[in-house]
Amino acid sequence: MSRIVGIDLGTTNSLVAYVDGAGVPRVIPDEAGRKLLPSIVAYTPNGVVVGETARRQLARHPRRTIYSVKRFMGRGWDDVRDEARHVPFAIVPSAEVVRIRIEDREVTPPEVSAHVLRALKQQAERHLGEAIERSVITVPAYFNDAQRQATKDAGRIAGLDVLRIVNEPTAASLAYGLQRLAQGVIAVYDLGGGTFDISILRVKDGVFEVLATNGNTHLGGDDFDRALVQWLLADVHAQHGVDLAADQEAVQELRLGAEAAKCRLSSEERAALTIPFEGFTYHRDITRTDLEQLIAPLVDATLGPCRMALADAGLAAAEIDEVVLVGGSTRVPLVRQRVEEIFGKTPHSQLNPDEVVALGAAVQAQILAGGITDMLLLDVTPLSLGIETLGGIVSVLIPRNTTIPTLAKEYFTTSVDGQTAVDMHVLQGERELAKDNRSLARFDLSGIDPMPAGMPRIEVTFLIDANGILQVQSKELRTGKAASIEVKPTYGLSEEQVSQMVEDSFTHAEADVNARLLIETRTEAETVLNHVRRALAQAMDLIRPDERETIDRAIAALQAVEGGTDRDAIRERTIELNQVTERLAEAMMDAALKGAVASRRADEILKEP
């Protein structure tokens, strides 16, 4: 059997991991040795690029570079209306699944995510030297059925058989448990780029039993950045009298700068932000206190779910043995402080909070592969499942925090003589009225034999599998005949749509590989061009006029091919330009001016740890 990999499909970054021959889970790096693949997808005129290459397109092509798409997975227009205002790409209003418009085409969030998954798949295949077709993918514990299904669809579109959807905090607990780093009753506080989860587990005898989970699928580091950007926009306006709010490129520059500053403020008391805009250079010192004031309400919003999870687990904070931190946003000191306050004990993150979910996914993959037999994860369904009854009231069939897999049976009959079909509306959520809950699907039960009203007895089985995904079966008890069910997912893709997308992805795969290579080559050319231009501006008098002429010719030659699609030509001329500027670089080094070449942009600062 082929290997199964574990994937953390994150809002900001994604990772792929596997368990090696010695039984140790490891994150698989890309060719450049990077473990985190930015979950960013850029749709360029030449094809699709993913990750670091796509990130470089963010500021330049904000309308066709998609980030944080996880926030749109399995959502309807009503859920994301607010979100849509904050992203530079266009979200199309629709009655069903959300779509993103990129120039003349529209894509769905699972298709965008599939590009990230495909990149991870290729990364794993290159590293392991074998074809990868099966995976475990993690999702926030608080993801509802539609969001889980959308994630599974994304896997299929990427050519991956998704054997299991695992909750992120529980995956993290598996990584800790494998190394015996956590025992007893543990709370996993997971604050990522776009989502928040709290899960409370009992770890005993190799069994990881989730007692309760809660969270918010629209709360994370992205929101911290957003608060900081709003503050910076106001500051730019105050300092320079310019309103940049409508300038997508400028907002993206600010967002990248804000993100970098936020990260720096986790270890330092202040961070300096310098961003060159057209006509002026914006400079701002940001203190940790500034940041904390901005994000305090967001951090506090995680405390309610913590209390509810404790209540559902029937535990007091004092009964928690250990608190584990997961997700990049738990590096923020204010977050650690609040967690310590609510649980009354110092939280720890012995395993890298960026990697621990992927490592746990790899452990779950190994369990499924039969490689680990002494560990078992018993997870729960995060939201109550019910059906709409008379008067729009929800009748709960499976309460939240029920251990999965689980099932419930419900019985229906007809109200009119000869009626052959019954429909039902399935919902998820904790509210009493159907309209306040998340509509999952409408089911049409048909093929009931005509009988007097009230005679048929139709048994419907609602089964939530180990992925937290609903399956519905039904049968008419008098005839024993299976009634056919047509599912109309409210915010999901139909089977036909997914199949079509799988097909399309094969058609585009080759083009996308070529696009990535071309754009990487172009980006490299642009970087070299920029460096040379800057160096020339600073060190013109260090070289002879004939040397200057050679360099100018090489620049012109590169510029002539840079916008084209001939990758070899761009690469050759980039190398040539590099060669003819060697003397210039030496001269600058001699003049001890080397440091001046590196005038860095915000997105380059980000690459540093």
Binding site: D312, G370, L378, V394, R400, I404, K409, A466
Partner: protein, 197 residues
């Protein structure tokens, strides 16, 4: 309906050692959980899924002493147990009479915004009812040895079942009044309250 006591190989008795129950829950989970049947055929996988779901439901029904009584009553009466299904026993007349005053205050509070004073009274009343609600639960759990003795002696269960049902009915009624009070006080957040079983 399925006998969840049988799933764990237990007699139909109310006193269960929680440690032992958890141990056999883990053991059965290890045997049936779909994680350990990935390599099997589609049919075997479907069977594992159903078996695992049954074990999970059985554990949920039995792990909490109070939920256990509710389940037991349903089992004794051969009903399907559902979250909001309450035993259809009658609420005693004296309790209804006692509640008349509260109900009146409730009606008034619903008709118009309660004054500070009324609100304080309603809160006090709710506190009292919550204590009583808890006392009923304690009484139910405390009756477990009595039930077990009847089972051991092979005696007549009808009387005890009726008594349990009565207490459950009182609890259900109190719950409704408490929820109504919460709503009248404007402290309701529209969430469905789930007890942990």
């Amino acid at each position: 309906m399925t006998d969840y006591f049988e799933v764990f190989g237990l007699p139909r008795k109310l006193r269960i050692d929680p440690e032992a129950l958890q141990r056999s829950f883990y053991e059965l989970s290890r045997r049936h959980h779909p994680d350990f049947h990935q390599g099997a055929g589609a049919e075997a996988q479907a069977r594992a899924l159903e078996a695992s779901a049954l074990v999970n439901r059985a554990y949920r029904a039995l792990r909490d002493p109070l939920a256990r009584v509710e389940y037991l009553i349903a089992l004794e009466e051969g009903r399907e147990l559902r979250e909001e299904t309450t035993a259809k026993a009658k609420v005693p007349m004296d309790l209804l009479a006692e509640m008349l005053e509260v109900q009146e205050a409730l009606e008034e509070a619903k008709a118009s915004e309660p004054t500070e004073e009324t609100a304080a009274q309603l809160r006090e009343e709710r506190q009292r009812l919550q204590e009583r609600y808890q006392a009923e639960a304690d009484a139910l759990v405390a009756a477990a040895p009595e039930w077990d003795a009847v089972i051991d002696a092979g005696g007549e269960r009808r009387g005890l079942v009726e008594r349990f049902k009565q207490r459950l009915a009182v609890r259900a009624y109190l719950r409704t009044v408490i929820d109504d009070l919460t709503q009248a006080l404007g402290e309701d957040d529209g969430r469905v309250a789930h007890r942990r079983h």
